[in-house]
């Protein structure tokens, strides 16, 4: 089990006039992530999701508060925790001068894997993501989707029990995105706990057992996607406003939504189930992708 207790992260930054100020990136965060679940951190760009992942993966230290992996604390037990986790960063962070196989070898060596295990694991992992034939190619020669798949299996090489994925499908086309989702589901079935950040609503809905909605560094909601939708109401009615923007209203019953829609005189009226985007807008007054 992974716990964040009163975690706060602040950064010092200089404004255009050179005056130093403090920016709060994560504010008093309390979270619990259970073994074996797919846990999503959902929020717009700049909400603090990547900062949370960086603190969880020890690339950054909380200004205040503690992070526990079971009884292990990130402040004192970093080396032991690093053996338990795999990290798929948002950036494609391969050594660009190395081949696919050499990047995998490097990862295995950094995680103290014996040579024989390394060779076997690389061959299995590359087969798993259909990249076996690219083992001697430079990573520069791979497509965006191939690089993402390679990043994920590289993080799995040392058999971590928790995998962190920071925006795993950002900038990928829908077809590749679905392949990555399948890969994540397979890993989950194999018993890996998965923590992912995303600003794609459909990704959080499709993959996550529970979702934490983050806005401006604060946790504003935490539950299963279904429970979050039910809290605000499961039915939505959308329509075009006079200025061309879309407006929507949420209802707890289908009948209420239907009656409201029937009384509307506006264009392009749509009745649908509510989603996590609606939850986010209801809670923050702005869109996730804004």
């Amino acid at each position: 089990m992974l716990r964040l207790e009163n975690v706060r992260k602040t950064f010092l930054y200089k404004n255009a006039k050179g005056k130093e100020s403090t920016k709060v990136a994560v504010d008093n965060m309390n979270l619990r992530i259970d073994d074996g679940e797919i846990f999503g951190l959902l929020g717009p760009n700049g909400a603090g999701k990547t900062t949370i992942i960086k603190m969880l993966t020890m690339l950054s230290r909380p200004t205040k508060g503690n992070i526990y992996y079971g009884k292990l604390n990130t402040r004192n037990d970093a080396q032991a925790i690093k053996k338990l986790i795999g990290v798929v960063p948002q950036h494609i962070n391969f050594d660009q001068d190395l081949t696919v196989g050499e990047n995998m070898q490097l990862h295995g060596r950094l995680h103290h894997m014996p040579r024989k295990d390394r060779e076997q694991c690389i061959s299995e992992m590359l087969r798993y993501v259909e990249l076996s034939e690219r083992v001697n190619d430079s990573v520069r020669a791979l497509s965006g989707g191939m690089k993402r798949r390679l990043l994920i299996v590289r993080a799995l090489m040392h058999k971590p029990s928790i995998l962190f994925l920071d925006e795993p499908t950002v900038a990928l086309d829908p077809q590749v995105r679905r392949r990555i989702w399948d890969l994540i589901r397979k890993m989950h079935k194999a018993g890996v706990t998965i923590v992912l950040t995303t600003h794609y609503i459909e990704e959080a809905e499709a993959l996550c057992d529970r979702v934490a909605i983050i806005n401006k560094g604060k946790l504003i909601a935490l539950d299963t996607p279904k429970a979050l939708q039910e809290k605000i109401g499961s039915y939505a009615v959308e329509w075009d406003k006079e200025n061309g923007e879309r407006e929507f209203k949420i209802f707890h019953s289908k009948e209420q939504a239907k009656a409201f829609a029937n009384n509307l005189s506006q264009q392009n009226i749509l009745r649908r189930r509510s989603n996590l985007e609606d939850v986010f807008v209801e809670l923050t007054g702005r869109k996730v992708n804004s």
């Binding site: 032991a80 053996k83 490097l106």
Partner: protein, 231 residues
């Protein structure tokens, strides 16, 4: 792939020192009187010092890109390795490159007809010089934020040192104030030591101590900046 990268890296950075050797040593050097031996014999230790400095420093300048742009450094920082292993590994790789390129210069210098002795202390001084500038390169790559500033470091720090620290002429000929400033820099001590050892004269132990002190202090700074970067 790594071997290919190393060969490319070393070859591209050896053009300048080889040209110095040809132009100043072989060509212009024939007409320069140093008072003791040929100018080529005087020049070779200086070229070795500046070449090992450049190769060691520039071996670690890509670390800047790994940290700021590609973020591949995060792969090391999320692995269960001691931060010191990372520092030591990077510095040893830069020392190796510096020593390989020095070996090539030594062979070429002998082919050009230079006379100098290679002793274990001569090699130790070269290793220390590589270590110091690898550490400076590491520290710069871990602290400087822009590519432009990395380039400026080369232009404003390494380039003047290449020419002024006893490489092409003796620092004794410089004005007094400048002389003291130049003697505070490690490359001067490397050039002087390599020249003394190369011609069989007893080495200045103070210079060896200065190099050892620089190596230790710079390593401490590298270890500190790496720990800080991980946090």
């Amino acid at each position: 792939m790594l071997k290919h990268r190393m060969i490319k890296f070393i070859l591209s950075r050896m053009v300048a020192p080889i040209l110095y050797l040809v132009a100043f040593g072989w060509g212009l050097g024939r007409s320069i009187n140093t008072g003791s031996g040929s100018y080529l014999d005087f020049l070779v230790p200086g070229i070795l010092a500046l070449n090992s400095m450049n190769i060691a420093f520039n071996s670690l300048s890509p670390l800047h890109g790994e940290r700021v742009y590609h973020k591949s450094i995060e792969e090391y920082f999320t692995a269960p390795i001691n931060p010191l292993s990372f520092v030591i590994g990077k510095i040893l790789a830069a020392i190796l490159r510096g020593m390989i390129s020095s070996a090539i210069i030594i062979v070429l210098a002998y082919l050009f007809g230079a006379n100098f002795m290679i002793t274990p202390l001569f090699l130790l001084v070269l290793i220390l010089n590589c270590a110091i500038f690898a550490e400076i390169g590491f520290y710069a790559a871990m602290t400087i934020d822009s590519y432009e500033d990395m380039g400026r470091f080369n232009t404003y720090i390494l380039m003047p040192m290449s020419f002024l620290c006893g490489t092409f002429f003796s620092p004794d000929k410089l004005p007094k104030l400048f002389y003291y400033f130049i003697h505070a820099l490690p490359l001067t001590h490397t050039s002087l030591l390599l020249r003394e050892i190369g011609r069989g004269a007893p080495p200045e132990l103070l210079s060896v101590l200065v190099l050892l002190l620089y190596t230790a202090v710079c390593f401490w700074l590298c270890a500190r900046v790496t720990k800080k970067a991980q946090q």
